[in-house]
Amino acid sequence: MMDFFRRLFLSLLCGLILIAGMAQSKNPAITVSGFVYDAQSGESLIGTTVVTEDSDVKGTVTDNSGFFSLSVILPATLRVSFVGYTPTVVNVSDNSHPIKINIEPAETTLEAVEISAEKFERETFNVSKLNIKQIENIPMLGGKTDIIKAAQLFPGIEATNEGSSLLIVRGGSPGENMYLFDRVPVTYVNHIGGFMSVFNSDIINGLNIYKGGFPAKYGGKLSSIVEITQKEGNKNEYKGSLSVGVTDLSFSVEGPGGLKNSSFIVTGRKTMIDFLFLGATAIAKKLEAQDFSLLYGFHDINAKYSWHPDPKNSFHINIYEGDDYMKHWVDQKYKEDKQKSSLTNIWGNILVSGSWNRVVSPKIFSSNTISYSRYRLKKTLSYKFTTPSDTMSFENQGKSILTDVSLRSDWKYSVCDKWKMEFGLNASYLQHQPNNYFSTVTDIFYQEKVNAFETSVYFDNNLKLFSFLDADLGVRLVGYFTDGYYHLAAEPRANINFRLNKDHTLNLSLMRVNQNSHLLFTTGAIMNNEVWVPAGKEIPVAASDQISAGWKGYFAKDMFSAEVNVFYKNQYNLTTYKDGYNNLIGDGNWREKLVSGGRGNSMGVELMFSKNHGDFTGSIGYTLSRTTRQFDELNEGKEYLYEYDRPHSLTLNFNYRLNSKWNFNILWVYQTGAPYTPIIGQQYAPFVLADGTIIYDEVYVYGDRNSARMRDYHRLDLGARYSYINKKGRKAEWNFSVYNAYFRKNAYYYFYSDRHAEDWNPSGYNPTKLYLQWFFPIIPTASYKVYF
């Protein structure tokens, strides 16, 4: 497949560049560029449509910086529109400076805006797009908006388990998704073991999930690129919000940043269950039912500072810090003796980045980012015993850390009306400490550090060859260097669109991508469940090839749209745990617990049908797929169904806007049951007792791995949102939702037991039976948010 990619890529690139060059010489148009801002807050607007108002309408959409460039014939008139804003017309007479366009928010222009926005995004395939406004009405477990969970409604994107925000994209594992938070990679993306994502919706502008056909500027993970953009703060006035939900308390504050044309935004969340834990353990201690305390919680905080000193330059600083923690401790006193012990688990990210965007010329835009991020998972056991005459203490600690220092430079060059080029480089220094451990008791000390350097350069060409054909052709060259090992690779990328007419487009995309680190993941675990290990001599670099084809069509003046995508993906050199292992912490010989060289295969068909406008909107998404894995050391080397394989997945999501205050939503999700490994028999196995007697225990004989299926999963969620102005004149919202409205007992997992039967006989023989464990009954939730 690689040779085919390479030949196709090279021949298309050469031919198309030639044609595009010829087209350029005939075109007298010049390129204008600029930014689109919210007129009230001064925030850059991403995804805004900018079109020329002449007979030959040309258009574009602003990027993640609010930037656009467009070839026009001067003087030109540009019409700028965005969801929820009043369309604005701007006259342009020269291109000596970037144009600054402010558009006013408005609530009555949705339909006209949406139509024009779609016209210039029709070429987008293999990408699921969401902005925060689109998901506010979707009912969520916990009552709070979670953009990652909302993305699971799209075909080809699923959750690992019920209630989880971990993504499975086209059969990839949770560790094969690259999360870029304002272009900076985030390693750990979950709170509470996946029940919430770390991305606070208060600061999210929107997200794009690339399921295939990655642009050449993106790579590093096999299955998806999750591009998340943050809001900028309000440049003109101080604003904020406070929200209370079942899971957490959150806030946001934004306003002018002190310098001219600057702003800041700070958001934060804190769980409320900490206090429930503390209260419950305090009561238990009071009742002398226990003598320890237990605490669980998480927090996260985001901050962004933006400064636009002039029309050509902007600077941004982002900070994110978030942790989950579970602590168990005992504090005892007896006369003058004191004893303290504690077990603390803490895991999360810290991220700091700075970026500089510059309009070098109307045709050239650059974006440069330097970032530091660190993910760490730490488990500490400490003890201190103090008497009036002596003190004894010790500490055992296990850690897994991934540190990433990256430099990224992205450039856009508008060669001509029909040829836009993107190129850039990315250099990352990574330090893996997959399994650090020390104990002051025994002086054991593992501090293995694996330093790695990842670098990539890319070139991407967007060529509009004919009115019916355009192509994105690119290549990404990647290098990976670590202790005594290196890996060089070329990743061809191609995205070709063939327009049948103005409403219908066909697409073909091809890509190869490499991944230099592997996530060891334990399904269902709350703590210690994500450890990253680097590729090296014993663990090869993973790779993936994907080909996809699709059709997208619009009907009834864009009232309805439909999309079909077919994909086929092969993965190579996958790594996972050996049978029976789910944790490396504290294990100095951790490489022995892994199996590498695995292969993965996914194929499927994705269908999406949407009603886009009006008070009643909605979508139907369906995926038919099959995903397998094969490791020489697992399942006797035979191929088996991947644990997240779901042949059928159907999502119905409908929204009804009753009036300006009330919004209603209904969501129904159906999936084929997850695969599990069945018991097919029982056998005896020997066991030696303390006195040397050998006895024989009954143990299970399992069938092929994942060769049976749990019962099908389905549930109905209902949501309602009420927006109003409260007594103090502040905008406020109530969100109500009912999760699993008809109380389906969906299987979280299956287990076998001879001890769970209702007629269990403690003194007799109990046959083994199969049980399903469920966790989520009908759950009504409410959350309240007030803006100030």
Binding site: F385, N396, T677, P686, Y696, Y724
Partner: protein, 319 residues
């Protein structure tokens, strides 16, 4: 209350908190239910198990693996011919004999008069009507002597503040030869023997194995001897002057020199149990997998070991 919404303000946060508590309580409830399914019928598969111990007569247990969910224990095979070879010489034909110790696993096994000896190779050819001939083989390792053993009453403290003891023992090592061991700490009290739990492993050799069991190889032992520390508890604890500590009976250590097959089997047994029975939401799941087997044309394990024992070690918190 929410018809026009204008009555609601931040003062309603108490209500929100109550709703949150209620929802959290509902969410915390979960349950399980039986799945009505029948195990598929399978053709009974022979299972051959034997652990040959240096100095003890040889016993082989032959049974059938059956579909689970039945009302009776698994059947043993009563019409089997077992030929025993010692160092490739036919030595004995085993005899089907009742054994009350095996009442929970069929009540019968096949016995030989031959006493297993360290350093010898033993193999069996087993014939069952209508089944392929079964073959299994093992060589019993020579014992490794425990050269020293002692105890500590204050080895560490668990997360609940309870002090746990440790035992330390030394044994000879040949770094040029790959050797496998199972260390069994036994608590001896009132003529009753129990196996103590090995906890909070901090010995480098055991940590290197990655499992909380006393099964290890000499893979990373470089010298001619090694001293290993085992933190052990028996499950009972007491307090003195406000300090809780685990109390354990006198300890005898049994160091078993085991085959590579037995080493793999014991590790796999532990992992099998983790995958089969420890599926908890906070711990996470592991794919289920089968037991280790080194028997051709059947399930089961055919292996052996020799052993040495330490002097009795008495550990008291007050010493």
């Amino acid at each position: 209350m929410l018809i026009d919404g204008s009555e609601v303000s931040m003062s309603d946060s108490k209500f929100v908190f109550l709703v949150a508590l209620l929802c959290a309580a509902i969410a915390a409830t979960s349950c399980y239910k039986e799945v009505q399914s029948e195990f598929p019928d399978i053709v009974p598969v022979p299972t051959v198990n034997a652990i040959l111990v240096d100095g003890q007569i040889i016993t082989v247990h032959v049974s059938f693996a059956m579909k689970p969910g039945g009302e009776t224990i698994l059947p043993v095979c009563d019409n089997v011919q077992i030929l025993l070879y010692e160092n490739d010489i036919l030595t004995d034909t085993l005899i089907y004999t009742a054994d009350t110790l095996l009442i929970n696993s069929g009540g019968y096994a096949y016995y030989s008069d031959v006493v297993a000896k360290a350093g010898n190779n033993y193999s069996c050819i087993i014939t069952i009507k209508d089944y392929d001939t079964i073959f299994c083989s093992t060589e019993i390792p020579y014992p490794t002597m425990i050269t020293d053993a002692r105890g500590f009453h204050h080895a560490g403290v668990d997360q609940e503040g309870t002090v746990y003891p440790a035992v330390e023992y030394s044994f000879e090592n040949n770094p040029l030869e790959k050797q496998y061991y199972s260390i069994v700490p036994k608590g001896v009290a009132d003529e009753k023997i129990g196996i103590l739990d090995i906890v909070y492993i901090d010995d480098p050799v055991l940590l290197n194995e990655g499992l909380p069991i006393g099964v290890f190889s000499n893979n990373i032992i470089e010298g001619n001897s090694y001293t290993m520390k085992l933190n052990v508890i028996s499950g009972s604890s007491e307090s003195s002057n406000g300090v809780w500590f685990y109390s354990i009976p006198p300890v005898v250590l049994e160091l078993r020199s085991i085959t590579k097959d037995y080493y793999d089997f014991l590790q796999r047994y532990y992992l099998y149990e983790q995958a089969a029975f420890n599926y908890e939401i906070f711990i996470g799941s592991m794919p289920a997998h089968n037991m280790y087997s080194n028997v051709e044309n059947a399930y089961g394990l055919f292996t052996g070991y020799s052993y040495s024992i330490s002097d009795t070690i008495t550990i008291s918190y007050f010493n």
